[in-house]
């Protein structure tokens, strides 16, 4: 391993001739990138940083052996699920190494939240993981209620569980569609969006907004159920199983789909635990961990449900896991509707909350795994520290472990099966 000289400075590439560029680059420990035509392409090729590598990992990914090249996927690429950039090192079509580059959607939400009052924090966390908005609000609501020492009334807790399960269903449904879309199937994603639309209409009739619902409050929820919500819920409940079956018929038994996903991107239970992967991805690897069961929050200890697991750990198991969880969520919704008590939906909470100094932790099972919030109060009107653990970020860590040795085409298929949402990854 050659020593990297940290003092070396590389001037603006425009001022240099090519030989000089190559010499400096070699001094920096980087193999020159060559174009298909054999010409030296310069530093800006695939966005290799214009400086000596800062870490061993950076040096490893940007150093090319004979016959290898770097392909830059994203941030503007049709299927990187938002704005992610993947630097893929390939030999022919076979992936040698893969390096996700994050931060293209970073909005500094944690810092924003630390400058907002506790009530308004719940509006800032909405656009993080934009496919599980309700879960995003649920975790801070739990944390702040612990911090302030207030409990949401029972009916509010039931409504929370109801909307959260509805959100889980459409999020999992979209994952199935995107998985097919990334393999070239055009139709399932549109069916998934039609199914999502029904649920979103329902949730907008209870919360007043279509995408970023902003429905949770510290100590309850914003609105009680109304007639429109309930009638939409009933209509949807009547045909949801048929819709799922239609999607399943189109994807689950499709020979091409199976050939592309079975034994593809296999994550063992041990690996998944080691990486910190949670949620459906972990359960698809055979580890029965579900926050709803392990650390029951809200009303989940009053409801009857099982922790479903799959044994495969491959993309197909992750897909089957989502279908199983959709069915289980429907089962939960049935129970919630049966048991829902009467009463108020909002506890008595002042407009500006000033909790006593302390710290609180709230964790929920989001469609992508363990989503949790850690808040520290210094007695002021806004959190002193507000930290979020987003499951997509952790799931994405598995990608460089799963891909080497596979083909370029599998990158998207495996990534879609891990179901990351870049809004959550970058915060």
């Amino acid at each position: 391993m050659t020593k990297i000289d940290p003092d070396i400075t590389i001037p603006d590439p425009i001022d240099l001739d090519r030989a000089e560029e190559e010499r400096l680059r070699a001094a920096a420990g980087l193999t020159p990138v060559r174009t298909p035509g054999g010409e030296y392409a310069g530093f800006e090729q695939v966005g290799i940083p214009d400086r000596p590598p800062q870490t061993e990992r950076e040096r490893e990914i940007y150093t090319l052996d004979e016959g290898e090249m770097l392909v830059n996927m994203g941030p503007q690429h049709p299927s990187t699920h938002g704005v992610m950039r993947l630097v893929v090192k390939v030999r022919g079509e076979i992936i040698v190494d893969i390096d996700p580059v994050l931060g293209y959607l970073h909005r500094g939400i944690e810092k924003l939240c630390e400058n907002a009052t506790y009530t308004t924090v719940l509006t800032y966390v909405d656009p993080m993981d934009y496919l599980s908005t309700m879960h995003n609000e649920h975790a801070p609501a739990i944390a702040f209620e612990k911090l302030y020492g207030v409990k949401a009334p029972p009916r509010a807790e039931y409504i929370r569980a109801l909307v959260v399960e509805l959100n889980r269903i459409f999020s999992h449904g979209l994952m199935m569609g995107f998985l097919a879309l990334d393999m070239g199937g055009l139709t399932p994603i549109l069916y998934a969006f039609i199914n999502r639309d029904e649920i979103v209409d329902m949730l907008s009739s209870i919360s007043g907004q279509r995408m970023l619902f902003n429905f949770f409050r510290v100590g309850g929820v914003n609105f009680d159920t109304n007639d429109e919500f309930l009638s939409r819920l009933g209509t949807w409940r009547g045909r949801v199983l048929k819709n799922i079956e239609m999607n399943e018929r189109m994807i689950t038994d499709n020979e091409i789909f199976r050939a592309r996903t079975i034994n593809m991107g296999t994550l063992t239970g041990q690996q998944a635990i080691g990486l910190g992967v949670t949620g459906p991805n972990l359960r698809a690897s055979g580890v029965p961990f579900d926050v709803r069961k392990a650390k029951p929050y809200s009303i989940y200890n009053e409801l009857e449900f099982d922790v479903i697991t799959q044994q495969g750990g491959d993309s197909y198991s992750r897909y089957l896991q989502r279908i199983a969880e959709i069915k289980q969520s429907i089962h939960l919704i049935d129970q919630i509707i049966d048991k829902m008590p009467h009463g108020p939906v909002q506890a008595q909470v002042p407009g500006i909350i000033r909790p006593r100094p302390g710290r609180a932790y709230g964790a929920v099972e989001s469609p992508r795994g363990l989503y949790s919030v850690y808040a520290i109060s210094d007695g002021g009107p806004n959190p002193y520290r507000f930290r979020m653990r987003d499951p997509s970020f952790i799931s994405l860590q598995a990608l460089p472990k799963l891909m080497p040795g596979r083909l370029v085409a599998d990158t998207m298929a495996v990534m879609a099966s891990l179901d990351p949402v870049m809004g959550g990854v970058d915060k």
Binding site: V71, G185, N254, I256, L407
Partner: protein
């Protein structure tokens, strides 16, 4: 002056001009079908603004492509970059020469039509490879190399699958092949395995779903076409849809009786009326297969490049050889007419 020769040249020029003109509405119709049929299958409306029920949408797209700025990447190999769309388009247009539209309506009815067809249509891959190489783009390069790998794999079963039919009919001329089918029934009955292999390989030949990994929009953005814009991109696009039409037409000519009606051809229909009748049936059958290809696109995901190659080499090629072997033995043993 040899008037025969002049007449022949004049007829050829007229026929090629007509065929080149035919590619335009063909591409427009298939693009329109693709937009509208897939939309219906996706439970969408599809284009519905331009013209009644949006039927002029693809035409407008064509004009839009004409009006777009034509860019060449800075470091691209300009001459080959410019040449590539022309090669792909000409491969498709030239192979149209031998398509048997109707009795008497074949541009060049020569005796090795089938060989000519596969030789010329295979040239389009060269254009894709050149486009991938000249674009100075890694997605294009991967797409171009994929198309080369794909060609090596499927072109052999594609060609072998029809040798059985050729052996049976004893001709390489499309019109004579259809004449044989008139007497003995469509080759669909005689060569079902050949038909299956041909259909799968022909989808790969024209880069249709589920074998569209050359352009694979979710992986390679647009494959070899990534850097193209304006009318150069339009030519690729046109060539792709024209190739789909041609492949469906050849499928119909080889296995589904070409211009023949499903029932016995009326004897009184000769001359111009017979030609029109034949054209009607040919286009009807061809567009049915085009519609099936569009349907497949709406339904199926894409296979991986190694899966296609594995299938071509391990399944289709042995099957095609077995099919040819059995056909050849049967022709000798049962002394089929035409040998």
């Amino acid at each position: 002056m040899d008037w025969e020769l002049l007449l022949g040249i004049g007829r050829f020029v007229l026929a090629t001009t007509l065929l080149l003109l035919l590619t335009v509405p063909t591409a427009f119709i298939i693009i329109q079908m693709e937009m509208k049929i897939i939309a219906q299958m996706n439970l969408r409306f599809g284009p519905n603004r331009i013209g009644p029920r949006g039927i002029f949408q693809s035409t407008i797209h064509g004009f839009k492509v004409l009006a777009k700025e034509d860019t060449v990447p800075d470091q691209a190999d300009r001459s080959t970059f410019t040449l590539a769309p022309w090669m792909v388009y000409m491969a498709a247009a030239m192979s149209m020469l031998v398509i048997p539209f109707a009795p008497g309506a074949v541009a060049a009815d020569f005796n090795i039509g089938i060989v000519y067809f596969f030789a010329v249509l295979g040239l389009s891959v060269v254009g894709l490879l050149v486009a991938g190489w000249a674009s100075y783009n890694k997605y294009s390069l991967l797409g171009g190399l994929r198309s080369a790998a794909q060609m090596v794999s499927y072109e052999i079963p594609l060609t072998l699958s029809i040798v059985g039919a050729v052996v049976l009919a004893g001709t390489l001329n499309f019109s004579e092949l259809i004449g044989w089918q008139l007497e003995n029934g469509w080759l669909l009955i005689w060569q079902p395995i050949g038909l299956g292999i041909f259909y799968i390989s022909s989808l790969a030949e024209v880069n249709r779903t589920p074998f569209d990994m050359v352009e694979a929009d979710s992986e390679l953005v647009a494959g070899p076409f990534t850097e193209y814009s304006g009318m150069r991109f339009g030519f690729f696009f046109f060539a792709e849809y024209v190739a789909l039409f041609i492949m469906s037409g050849i499928l119909v000519a080889l296995f589904f009786g070409g211009w023949l009606a499903p029932w016995p051809f009326p004897a009184q229909l000769t001359g111009f009326a017979g030609t029109l009748y034949g054209i009607f049936w040919f286009f009807l059958k061809t567009y049915i297969f085009v519609a099936i290809a569009v349907w497949l696109r709406a339904t199926l995901p894409r296979v991986r490049v190694d899966q296609l190659m594995g299938m071509a080499w391990k399944v289709l090629l042995p099957l095609a050889l077995v099919n040819l072997f059995v056909t050849a033995i049967a022709v000798v043993v049962f002394d089929v007419k035409g040998v």
